[in-house]
Symmetry: C2
Amino acid sequence: MKLVCEKDKLLKAINSVVKGASSKTTMPILEGIFIQTNDNDVKLTTYDLEIGIEYIIDAKVEKQGSTVVNAIMFSEIIRKLPDTEINISLNEKNLLEIECEGSLYKLATMNPEEFPDLPKINIENSITLEQKNLKNMIRKTIFGVSIEENRPIFTGCLFEIEDNKLNVVAVDGFRLAWKSNFLENPSNNFKAVIPGKTLNEVNKIILDSYDLIKIGISKNQALFEMENCKIVTRLLDGEFLNYKNVIPENWETRIRVNKKDLQECFERISLISFSSMEKEKKYPVKLNIEIGKITISCTNQTGDAKEELYISTEGKNLEVGFNPKYFLDALKVIDDEEIYVDFGSNISPCVIRPIENSDYTYMILPIRMKD
Amino acid sequence: MKLVCEKDKLLKAINSVVKGASSKTTMPILEGIFIQTNDNDVKLTTYDLEIGIEYIIDAKVEKQGSTVVNAIMFSEIIRKLPDTEINISLNEKNLLEIECEGSLYKLATMNPEEFPDLPKINIENSITLEQKNLKNMIRKTIFGVSIEENRPIFTGCLFEIEDNKLNVVAVDGFRLAWKSNFLENPSNNFKAVIPGKTLNEVNKIILDSYDLIKIGISKNQALFEMENCKIVTRLLDGEFLNYKNVIPENWETRIRVNKKDLQECFERISLISFSSMEKEKKYPVKLNIEIGKITISCTNQTGDAKEELYISTEGKNLEVGFNPKYFLDALKVIDDEEIYVDFGSNISPCVIRPIENSDYTYMILPIRMKD
């Protein structure tokens, strides 16, 4: 194997695939990047048996071949080389030689035949959308996936196509985040639950741009396809929550509030609330809604906190307890200036929605207050 | 106690003192900020029994008093409040009330009488210099202090006044960093060894500005004095190395090299060298100096690395081994474009000096190579 390629292109490819390499494994081959030449390009692949990432870049290929090299070491050396052409070749001792100006590095390699094949995917359904749209949908939901492995289905996000609309939904037993988006091209209805870990990686690789990304779904796998780059992942097995059924349709108390003001109140009050939350006892914050005013308060051994906001309110007065983290997670990702927060009773969930966009819904279960 | 002050001033004071509060202690009072009013100002103090920091800001004092409040909690709440006036008062339950617009926080306090007094210092000698000068002197030496506690004197930097020149020196048994600076005002000769930990804190507080800082030395203590802010610290006991005697006066081999080029070579080669350095075995890098060229190389089980630079050389050819970290530490802080590196034999130290400034000297002991 012998090739010449540009440092910046190679580095972009490495940065995309390197996260797919396993970091803790008893199989060193999975810590590697599989490098494989083609006529006028070279393909880099990583695969930790859950997520596989492929990236193809142009290269002057002087001799065909393939090898596997430790992903971290290869990535750090390429990163630090000067910004020019890099010569890469496999020598007779099976060391990967990396040559660039006065620098020559020779890295131990692994047998490319031991590198596992990425799963073959028979795509049954697919959609195409702009990368910035997908990025926004992931960002607004991913924090809501469950971190508890006892119900694996909830460690991923539901991707549901329904009447040319894509719904992405995360739920963890305490809250639910649902972002939807109309698709430009018609598609069949389908459902798949994609692991949160995969979506985090996809989110790092895709750009905040109008470039397209195609999501293809087979029975057990999903494929994310961009120019030069492919990501394959297994899907999660099981029945996802019938999420539309759990979101209350009516409210008894509604507030309309500036998102940033509410976020700042919760950020401050969390300092008191979280200072004790880490220990066994939970100190929820108390929301008191009266006509024209919301008071958020918290008391524990660290101190007392009280935040007042003058806002527009509708419906009944209410006193209800929440974990402030669940409010903050959503407030941080909402880009709109004003939101509605709709409440039922002090034991029913509240629902947050931007007042001008009906494409985002976030629901939180309350905490029962002692007094 | 009751006072009103501006958030930005209060936050600046807190940011300066908060690092002086102890984080791991069996004495909760040392985790606190001691707040004490005066006629038209308020003084914040932290003291972990090694380093004490005081900061005074203007305030409208409505009722005199003092208290101690947890440093981290106070600092985080003030940081998140809106950028306006903040009302602070001690209520009848001994809670510190912090009020700002719609926010009211009440924090548990501690008895101010339990807060230890900062040591009284009888200054015997002092110097004054610009903060940016001191910052530069600390930055160029601090990384060289020993982290081994078995010879405590070397965990600090020597501050030596000699013929109106300030020498700051760090040494750890493998290398030595020496920065000197002429003083504008005459001063007595003296020596003191200031703990590295203190200098790190001082470095965070002082600005890269022409503002002055006064360093006062007593028998066992040092005092750093700026506008509004004072830092006291104990000095380290013991005899510092007679550093001038250990720096070789002559060289057998001299290279003159672009600092950035050499730094980049060492950064790349460290990837190979360090990948094994963490384990028990040390893999030094080998420097080969021939006429007009330096070759830096390293071989271990990860791979081979070789870097070549065409440079100007004088004297004998040489092959010598070094820990590349010791080169990198110095190259990172040297601001000059070109440096000399002077070598004796392969068992004597090398000395790095900027070619245009004689005020910085850095010496490294070699590692004996096996072959």
